[in-house]
Symmetry: D2
Subunit: 348 residues, 4 copies
């Protein structure tokens, strides 16, 4: 099969590097364009990237000449790992110029005709693309994936909402350092410490799931109406966000029912057998002291949500803890899975 040429916007950053890593040897996509700031343009990728992943810099990317982020790449599909200070305009430029933009950036997530997409959760939002194309006056469009903390939350709430009707969620996250990029968090804020605040994070986590679990009516999404409290904290972990959840449902539920629903959850990516889709989008672990980031974040290549400690709640209905690999399922892997889904649907 001939692979689809793709570009990476923000290719030298933390998310950009993950794109390059995860797309090495991808069966659908082949990186042909690496775009970054003017400072890097004109040089080969290996000379400008400060490669910080423990696997080797892929040979296919190493010698590509880095370009600026202008909408004239050969590839007609681009992944965006751009910083939010520039992502808004650049992504729109690409969409307007007819490109398919698969973005991990936050800027357009809440645009009414932009899908905020998780393949397992809301493939129906793909329909919004048509309205975007009209707006941009061509074939271009933007598809986004949610914030890293939201992904874990929404993946777990989706099957529970379908089965029992979610009403209320209190979530506390213990988020990994890599979520802030590199250099990101100061070591003096991380060693022997917790920072009980991440700028703009709680706002995103309290709203994005409502769009994700909403329903498409015509050219927009009617948001879900349950309530979320988010307490977001930074802890001394390299990768993997841990989230504790207390959930209230419309119906009475048992821990057995919740466990079964989570274990049995399969989405469209599983049905289509997409390359990045884990067989089990949610893995339920039994040991009392799991999931733990260092032991469990890489299960199924970092693409599954790991759930543990499902138990009755005193205040709401069910308590549990989940773990999401924030830079794989919570960022670059999420965008790649979105692109795979669009390809399978014939949209790219």
């Amino acid at each position: 099969m001939k692979r689809i040429p793709v570009g990476i916007l923000g290719a030298t950053g933390a998310v950009g590097q993950r794109f390059v890593q995860l797309l090495e040897n991808h069966s659908y996509f082949e990186i042909t364009d690496l775009c970054a700031s003017e400072r890097s343009a004109g040089k080969s990728y290996k000379d400008v990237v400060l490669w910080r992943l423990p696997t080797k810099l892929p040979a296919n990317a190493a010698n590509l000449e880095v370009k600026t982020c202008e909408a004239n790449t050969g590839a007609k599909v681009v992944f965006s790992g751009l910083d939010s200070t520039v992502a808004g305009e650049i992504e729109e430029n690409f969409a307007r110029a007819g490109y398919a933009v698969i973005s991990n950036s936050k800027n357009h997530r809440m645009d009414s005709d932009v899908p905020l997409l998780i393949g397992e959760v809301n493939p129906d939002q793909i329909k919004l693309i048509e309205f975007q194309k009209k707006r941009f006056g061509g074939d271009g469009f933007i598809v986004t994936n949610p914030n890293c903390t939201t992904v874990g939350l929404a993946m777990v709430l989706k099957p529970l909402d379908e089965a029992f009707g979610v009403e209320r969620v209190v979530m506390t996250s213990m988020q990994a350092l890599s979520g802030a990029g590199y250099p990101g968090v100061s070591a003096l804020d991380a060693v022997d410490n917790v920072v009980p605040y991440i700028e703009d994070e709680e706002e995103k986590v309290e709203v994005e799931p409502l769009k994700l679990l909403g329903k498409v009516y015509g050219n927009e999404v009617k948001f879900a109406s349950f309530k979320i409290d988010a307490h977001c904290n930074r802890v001394s972990v390299r990768d993997g966000h841990t989230e504790t959840l207390s959930i209230g449902f419309k119906k009475r539920v048992t821990t057995t029912q919740v466990t079964r629903v989570l274990k049995n959850f399969r989405g469209l990516p599983q049905k289509l057998g997409l390359p990045s889709a884990p067989k089990e989008p949610i893995v339920v672990v039994e040991e009392a002291n799991r999931p733990q980031p260092v032991l469990d974040r890489d299960i199924n290549g970092g693409m599954s949500i790991i759930v543990g400690r499902i138990r009755e709640s005193n205040v709401l209905d069910i308590n549990l803890v989940l773990l999401v690999h924030n830079t794989i399922r919570g960022a670059a892997g999420a965008a790649i899975l979105n692109a795979e889904l669009l390809k399978a649907r014939g949209i790219i």
Copy 2:
């Protein structure tokens, strides 16, 4: 003023060392007896203790000869930092033999006639001592302080409950390593990791506040009736438990009201000017990213609860974060403040 001779049970352990540290130069109490296991008995304290506090081993304790934990110490008041595997029986032996036992151990906290005491929260439970004395047939009794995570929670809930009526609390803790003693947690569980479980901890945190905020009727405590969810996690912090709280009240409240109530809270230890009582039992910090363990745990000698991020809740009424120094206000310091209160009340 002549100081009251006191003994330390479990003097070589982590809590025992904190007792020795905090009681150096105490204005009410003077350590005369250090009790530990048979292995240590007969040797001088400095030769058997593996002193692990960053301050010097106090000279007054260094050369005391360690005794076994038998109820024949010269001191008639003993602080107990015993491990729960042995605390139950030993503390009872001392009480039965006429000693005042001020304990940090969990074993007798839920005994119906044993005060579970925080000076600022429920000094009325001191009345229970009379019933204990009858039970033990002499002058001896046990007074306990709560679990380290509970202390922070109960201190914050007390004034809020009086003002607005607490109905529901969802709490997630990020607990320090020192809470597990030494050697305690394995470094391989701590570095680059979170463990989302602490054995027996959630059970304590969900129940102890109900006794603490209960009311004494006759010879027992009628527990408070609000509901608590506890999600207890171990994070890579040396000292200081951080707790996120979502709280629901009987009345509508504003963040301004909550802030004012917490700031103005004063208890009996403050009125009596007890040596270990901080002027402000609760310190409210304004910065968005505080409190942080490494920066704030030592405020007021580790005896204040530090509260920040008071904000509206989507699910319940108010969200906030608190920090409690787990080995000072959450353990040895709590017991010492209890003893100071008993002394001020003429009970010891």
Copy 3:
């Protein structure tokens, strides 16, 4: 090819788990016997092992019934990851009973007729096995690999010694937590700390390289005669020992020569193409701030020594820094490579 059945002694421990992990799908060996303490015997491996590696418990081992460490396993080749408190006697029992014991334990490393073997460094010590067989009166024997810190040191010194003659080495190690097993190091010794001492470690690191770089004469090894200073420290790293070296040679050398010698180094495992042999036993990195444990320890599956910062010394001749994956090349992987070499040589 039919695989050779092998047993693991100490199968539930940290090194034992690495053996199980690294031998899943091994082309020469197949695990048939898992041996541990009496407490575990009679139960299936998956029920007694506290599996702590981030990869899945291999299916081939999960359901094996654990046995005690008695010399009656079906497999005639056993890998030993036994604790040194018991390894001495058990390994000797197996050798005496005719088994080939490939050991990571320290107990027999210095026995005069026991090879202390690194395939790339001193395959000639395999000759000692004949003398052992005579001693044990059968076909049994013990082969050991060195201490984890020694492995990195000896691998780098070997080609340099051949080329320039090593005279003096001052080594400071910053050793990973996993080197102490699990639970091993207390988190309170690791977080925000360095411990400048590891029991018995410096003694081993100062002597083992002399046997490794010695020469076999008849039934014993004439030790090399250079001098080593070892300063061993424990730092807050999960895996990967970093070592700084100042080295003095018999000849004058340049950094270019040293770099070339290290890069070009190949040993017998490379010539034989053994399954666990990395193509380059030593990888030289150029960046000023490398190697770093978190970025470089997994290069070539953790089987290469990573060397950086080769520069002139003011005091001796050459300074450099090296990184060795302590639980792979420094322990289980070293033993497996030894077994592969013995198989290739027809000894097992």
Copy 4:
């Protein structure tokens, strides 16, 4: 006694904050001027400083209005914690304008007529001030203290050099995160990692001790001639640099002699009883696994060098390990002690 008014250059930075902390209630000095960049000028200190020390922002500094770093402060003595990108010029401006500049910055340390001063090590370099005054044409001058890693090294080498003649030193440091300021080191470089390189650090550590232990002849210092190898590493420690040393001497020595010499070392600050001078500039600890940063860095207020593990070397003569509090004795505390010495000598 009337206190001398002093200013702080770079008052909002990490070293600047330490100056403010350590000078609260100082018996000789009183802060009257806080100088920083234009961005902060005109606002009160408490509004512009991101205070990151665990003690309270001193009340005497909180409300001072911050000024720019121009040589028109009321105080005639200024402490400089300026970043090296600007320190060179600003400090010279102040000196030329008649101010006494007590600097922690590296820029002028190697100027031939600028003392590189540790009170206990080389008070004779104070004589150089006269030559500077001539150069600057007034009463102004600069006095510097060494790099944080150098301080520990030079303090230990000084008495040993006097007693036995130092010839060669191989030093490996494990340096704290605070040495890089705030935000400084990325958490992703610190957690589960060692970085075996600190820019420009080894060069300083290999040369500064030679000036410190040199001798003043006329208007310049004849450097000491021993050789130093420095291997500088960044580890996951908040405060406190640990250094391993192998030392070669001109004379044969025993560990007993070395221990005695270090324990008995006293310098001019001790003789003069300066406020910041620890009674023992070097504290020798006996336990095999000490000193450790988290347990020992605050001994004597962070102003002593802690030495342990004095033992024979195989390669040189003596091995030992030392610990220096890098932001107290290694930075702000060093400068303050220098100022105290100048005051005691009537120079300021």
